[in-house]
């Protein structure tokens, strides 16, 4: 493969790669840095690419290794990350001022419940063990096959299946306990609360009906509802959506809160 071919193909993969890395790291800066570093590594090692896997698989393998190197020394986030970050946001006037400014002035400043569902998943999934987090995103959001994930992460297909099974079950359990969109006894209403703040004229119930996962909450199994949640993530590009700037601002807030929280509790 020539450098030109690599560059051309890399450009087509870049968007998905950056979104994957954002969902792994919860940091725009880290995601962008790793994308750049991935390209440089791929460029440097282009002679070793033998086409035994697709270029996309090979590129994701380089990026996953870089993400692992970055994240392996960092603590995982707690399951109740959204509660901790909500408390921090309520005590931080600047956060809401900035958010309202983005809401009013940015073309990517809309608030949509669907976008918040994806954002929420990004935060909560950082409570999974690192390997499980990687496997879950690669399989359920970026649609890689078990065999391809085995190549990307250099682990056996059996272990890919193990991590996938455990991670799915853990996330299903967390959301079933927490998310009021799928369980009437869920304890978290943040997406509809924020909708009330950013879209005061909207009726949350009318918005929820537009979301298949919320609409089907009483009729589908927990597994199916999780698949619908994954469908929301698959369809959203966190950098390009109409809510991107608002959600990235929120994500950066949560990342900073988590870093402080984990340091204080270490």
């Amino acid at each position: 493969m020539t450098t030109e071919e690599l560059t051309t193909q890399f450009v087509t993969i870049q968007g998905e790669l950056k979104s994957f890395l954002l969902r792994m790291t919860a940091s725009v800066q880290d995601a962008e840095d790793i994308v750049q570093e991935t390209y440089l590594k791929a460029h440097a090692k282009i002679d070793t690419f033998r086409g035994e896997s697709s270029l996309k698989t090979w590129v994701f393998s380089i990026a996953s290794n870089l993400a692992k190197d970055l994240l392996k020394s960092k603590k995982r986030w707690p399951e109740n990350v959204t509660d901790i970050c909500k408390d921090a946001a309520l005590g931080n006037r600047r956060f809401f001022q900035e958010a309202m400014q983005i809401r009013q002035s940015s073309p990517q400043g809309n608030f949509e419940i669907k976008e918040h569902i994806a954002f929420c998943f990004t935060c909560v999934s950082k409570s999974l063990p690192l390997e499980g987090h990687l496997v879950l995103l690669l399989k359920e959001v970026y649609n890689f096959k078990v065999r391809e994930i085995s190549q990307i992460l250099q682990m056996s297909e059996a272990m890919v299946k193990y991590h996938l099974h455990v991670s799915r079950n853990k996330m299903i359990k967390i959301f079933d306990h927490r998310c009021s969109l799928i369980n009437k006894e869920g304890i978290c209403y943040q997406c509809t609360e924020l909708n009330g703040i950013f879209n005061p004229k909207q009726k949350a119930q009318e918005e929820l009906v537009k979301i298949e996962m919320a609409r089907e909450a009483d009729n589908r199994s927990r597994d199916e509802l999780f698949d619908l949640r994954m469908k929301i993530l698959q369809e959203l590009d966190p950098f390009e959506s109409g809510a991107a700037e608002l959600q990235l601002h929120h994500l950066e807030h949560n990342r900073q809160v988590m870093e402080k929280h984990l340091e204080e509790n270490s």
Binding site: V146, A158, Y162, H165, V166, N169
Partner: protein
């Protein structure tokens, strides 16, 4: 010596051998899954209570030389502090305390299955004094093996 088999009808039957100064309970079954999956289920401590109906919590890491704190349905009020004495991936795991050891073994079979066995031997000079207060392990062992088999085979069959 008094050897008893549990009368419950389950896939894997536990058997207990009683002697004056010791008691040994064993269970074994064939699991149709990759040994890596069975091993991961046995050794990822924090995940064990999810699939194993006989364990309510495990704290610590299951690695050689580490000590774990395990709570079981056999005695809900008690926390067992157990040292991991052997850890041979996908083959053998041993943990225990002053009372005895629990030994897990995996042997890959010819037909694609894994032969899983779990044995616990407890005893010592004072064993006759408290033997009567220790509940039978048979049913718990059978459930352990059945839960492990079910979970591992579910993962093995999961989507590609």
């Amino acid at each position: 010596m008094n050897r008893q088999a549990n009368p419950n009808t389950r896939d894997a039957k536990a058997a207990t051998t009683k002697k004056t100064f010791s008691r040994e309970t064993s269970v074994s079954t064939t699991i149709f899954a990759d040994p890596a999956i069975v091993w991961a289920l046995l050794t990822h401590a924090s995940d064990i209570p999810r699939w194993n109906s006989t364990v309510t919590s495990v704290k610590g890491e299951i690695k050689e030389g580490e000590t774990i704190e395990l709570k079981s349905t056999l005695d809900a009020k008690r926390t067992f502090k157990l040292k991991v004495k052997e850890f041979v991936p996908e083959k053998r795991l041993v943990w225990g305390d002053a009372m005895g050891n629990r030994v897990y073994t995996l042997v890959k079979g010819d037909g694609g299955g894994v032969h899983f066995s779990m044995t616990e031997k407890i005893g010592g000079p004072l064993f006759p004094l408290f033997a009567g207060a220790i509940p039978s392990f048979d049913e718990s062992f059978e459930r352990y093996a059945a839960d492990l088999k079910k979970e591992a085979e579910t993962i093995q069959r999961s989507k590609k």
